[in-house]
Symmetry: C2
Subunit: 598 residues, 2 copies
């Protein structure tokens, strides 16, 4: 089937269903960040495979919106079809899908979409944007699904329990805490659609989505019951028995809809408008009251307990070994032996080092292995077909992580491969200084991630550099590598950092066509000083993975910064030296040698 044939087929069903404009989304029923192939409807229909974007199809038009990262790719992939790429952003002449509908859809048209792909928050946004326009919103069937003949099935991976020796808390204890909070909110029920919330609450993991150890499921919790709605094929009898012991029963994935329809009129349902879907929402009887807010489990999950913290530190020790061996290998193969190795090969080798650990499950995201100018593209990933050779000069950036039973890791190091320009050295030094500003300092409890983001950017601003992404994100525990509610970002936000929260600290410098630098460490928030000014918190590093100090212009560091870096490097070396080969250990000792003023 060509793109145009698929388009004609969609228009055929749109005519049958009397839908004038249809929204094709890149979404699953759970508002997941990463999509299983089953849900890649926009990519299948249009041929545009970018990680974000949406399409609107009418009788005459077929438009695909893609953000700035994908402008060129969308154009190339849509070429030769009737689909047209629409740049998405705030540039001159750019028009959002909502604006396009407002300006182009005739009055009294019907606008269809599949509600299971849309969160209530997203729906409210569309509704608001089209307010005043005479348009009929139609909750339609999944029209793309209806014409997608050879569609991959929803994955059916096997679930497994992450016991309290890893999770630090039994599911029945988590359920008790959730119920107490639900009661405090005046709710009788909560329905979870977000897969990481469900996985965390039930101490249940799976492999339905690449890099995200989750299972496709819904969950409903009441004061008496906790029900997991998922495909029976994911659950062994043993697993079902374990869940039952925690007070969790099991029903079929789709059974949730009838259950919601059957809720008693006095039920009060708590749900998260960002992480719910409209089909679920519409299944609620009209008489049922709702309370909306961030899922209660989201904040619970963000605060790591002491077992999770200890395990997470173990995960980083495992990672440290793999990454250090990789760094030594890079040094030997490229700097010393001058072999021709490309980014893809390096990323495969990095994976191989991680795979040596018994508890390694899979990468926690697609590895970024980027040499030279490629590293200036924040989300660059090499492929076997397209991959630059890492030369013995300039900088090589690798950003990677693992899913372990001991937790989820995410680390970036930028390595000097040979001679550097002064610009690179200065940028590297200030990227390090920006990191150190957060890693070394204390802050007042109540400070939000947007404040810490500003504090981290400030040193880089002083050399006239800014990075167009957040300073850091929350990290799950053997779960999604990106999790909220906290984040360190430029946009104002009101979530304060709390003891036990884990975030990345990853400032960087990205010079288009030249180089990219990022140093990423992962920290846990800890209580520190408490005095007449209040409670102070600090960020405590979870990982001791050596950083390349060769590019550092020491004269730009303070004495305290030099001291901190030297202690960090020394600790990294001490923790690793016994596990390395003599050659690796010798190299590392040199690599971790203290910085000093000349």
């Amino acid at each position: 089937m060509t793109a145009n044939e698929r388009l004609q087929a969609l228009r055929q069903v749109m005519r049958e269903k009397k839908i004038d404009a249809y929204l094709v989304q890149s979404s699953d029923y759970h508002q997941s960040e990463y999509l299983a192939p089953h849900f890649a409807e926009r990519a299948w229909l249009t041929g545009f495979t970018g990680s974000a974007g949406l399409a609107i199809v009418t009788a005459d038009e077929a438009l695909v919106w893609a953000d700035g990262r994908y402008t060129i790719q969308a154009k190339q992939q849509l070429e030769g079809s009737d689909f047209k790429a629409m740049p998405w952003g705030s540039g001159p002449g750019m028009i959002s899908p909502q604006e396009w509908l407002r300006d182009n859809l005739p009055d009294h048209s019907s606008f269809g979409y599949y509600g299971a792909y849309m969160s209530p928050a997203m729906f409210a946004n569309w509704e608001q944007a089209l307010k005043g326009k005479e348009i009929k919103f139609v909750e339609s069937e999944d029209l793309v699904g209806a014409i997608w003949a050879e569609r991959p099935a929803i994955p059916e991976s096997q679930g497994f329990i992450l016991g309290p020796e890893y999770s630090g808390k039994a599911a029945h204890e988590k359920l008790a805490e959730l119920r107490s909070e639900l009661k405090a909110k005046g709710a009788s029920h909560t329905v979870l659609a977000s897969l990481d919330d469900i996985a965390w609450l039930f101490n249940l993991r799976g492999r339905d989505i690449e890099s995200n150890p989750v299972l496709f499921a819904y969950a409903m919790i009441t004061p008496e019951t906790a029900t997991l709605y998922t495909s029976e094929r994911k659950l062994s009898e043993e697993l079902k028995a374990k869940l039952a012991k925690e007070g969790i029963d099991f029903k079929a994935y789709e059974a949730i809809f009838d259950e919601l329809k059957g809720l008693p009129a006095d039920a009060v349902v708590f749900y998260d408008p960002e992480r719910f879907n409209r089909k679920l929402y519409l299944a609620l009887p009209e008489a049922v009251k709702t309370i909306s807010g961030t899922n209660i489990t989201t904040e619970f999950k963000a605060i790591k307990n002491s077992v999770e913290e200890a395990k997470q530190r173990e995960a980083y020790r495992i990672d440290a070994l793999a990454l250090t061996r990789f760094m030594y290998w890079l040094h030997q193969e490229i700097e010393v032996a001058k072999k021709e190795i490309n980014e893809w090969e390096a990323s495969e080798r990095l994976l191989a080092f991680r795979e040596q650990a018994e508890s390694f499950i899979e990468p926690s995201f697609t590895t970024i292995s980027a040499y030279g100018p490629n590293a200036a593209m924040m989300h660059y990933g090499p492929s076997p077909e397209k991959s630059a050779v890492i030369k013995p000069e300039g900088l090589y950036l690798f950003d990677s992580g693992g899913q372990y039973y001991e937790g989820t890791t995410d680390i970036t190091r930028t390595q000097q491969m040979g001679p550097l320009t002064e610009e690179m050295k200065l940028a590297y030094t200030y990227t390090l200084k920006s990191s150190l500003t957060l890693l070394m300092g204390r802050f007042l409890a109540g400070a939000t991630g947007s404040k810490l983001d500003a504090i981290a950017r400030y040193p880089l601003w002083q050399i006239g550099s800014d990075y167009k992404c957040g300073t850091g994100h929350g990290v799950g525990f053997c779960l999604n590598v990106h999790e909220g509610p906290q984040r360190l970002g430029f946009a104002p936000n009101s979530v304060a950092l709390k003891p036990g929260m884990v975030v990345t600290v990853e400032p960087g410098v990205y010079k288009e066509g030249k180089f990219g630098i990022r140093i990423e460490n992962v920290v846990i928030v800890k209580e520190e000083l408490n005095n007449d000014s209040g409670q102070f918190l600090k960020l405590d590093a979870l990982n001791y993975i050596p950083m390349d100090t060769r590019p550092v212009l020491v004269e730009h560091l303070t004495d305290a910064e030099i001291e901190w870096v030297n202690a960090y490097q020394q600790r990294s070396y001490e923790e690793l030296k016994e596990q390395l080969s003599p050659a690796e250990a010798e190299w590392l000792k040199d690599f971790c040698a203290p910085l000093s003023r000349v």
Copy 2:
């Protein structure tokens, strides 16, 4: 009349009007920060004179809420009457006025208030807080006004024009810009109730409120007309003629209400829910559409033009002379001559130095003249009756400002009067470092005041110190010393700093029972570097007023900080030396001597 007699009189009119609970506010019709004596209803009724607080009176209860600053004062001032002080805040056992009403007012009671004292935003807040409670909100008459026999009249100061040589822009030009923005918002009318917005828009000043050079007035602007509603007694014939030339006509103060009632049904009125009053709002015909948002003039006013900037710098040169003479006087009288001088006498002397300038109008706020532990109280002000002696040891803080035709000033310096403790020196040094962090650095356009606030606090957090107030506030031009929309504060806010905005930078350390330190400078936002990372901005000092560097522990400053301080002090000296007496100049030269590492 005793407080209890006033209370009985109020209860009498409440019974006549069938009002079960009445709200007594500290507010005028314009949501002004400072109140003219006419509007001090809560103070008159209850005897509690604090700058903030409110009372609720029922048949059985008479309760006065006052925040933490006033807990003791309220208790003392209410003693002997039936009024009872209620602490206001988030402490244990504290209950807000809304919570008290919710818990104590019987169902179907009537709750009365005078709408002219309440902004629509405030009303929405009360309504929200009492949602679900069976209570009748009653827009009543001003019941306290009705029983206040010897009430001071609303002030009738003479208005005067601040010509374009000061304001930089004629009123008719400002009106044209306002109309264009109104049109863009789809509004036909805007009604201004906030006095500083009206003063700015019409280039009109007065002296109706102490320290705020404004006139009591309303204004309405349409595409064709601009009307000032105020008492005719404030406007000379000459002034009216000048206003007429700018396209501004004049009507009586109270005429606004009938005008609003008479608006055509197709009018679309833009108003600011925070700076409007409910009586005005209710005067609008139901058919009239409204659009709400921050007053358009508020942002216009915040961005100072080049004439205002130049004048403002002049105002600070005038202030610098007065303050430097004051500092020399302090030094001579207390440090050298060991005379016994108290805080009140010092503040009177400071005023006398300011009054020597021809263009000085009045202080821009009540001077804070605080020695030793008194300076730890952020809003302390001495009185002739109660005032500590400034001894030749420790620290003396003075925070003062002037209203000049050239602008509004606000400066704090903390002076070493003699031997200091190490704790004082460290606190002073880090207060300075916190200031320098903002004064020396650049930041990315788009950064909000809450980000800059975090950046400024960070150095002080490192010595375990925080200040429980904002880092800075906007400053008017020959207008209110506090003006928005920008502010540097800990609470999240979404107003980005823009070129031309003026803010104070005033970090500090406040140690209860020991000392208080604040260093306050005033800066204007300027464009700086523009490169591939975007537009950077910087904060440029408007004032060159010497700072005491004697308490500074030089080893805690970076080389760049030392250099910046030395250049600042040198410039202060150069700008002042010609105007000073030889003895003053000699002292200043020494006072501004460069810092150096030992």
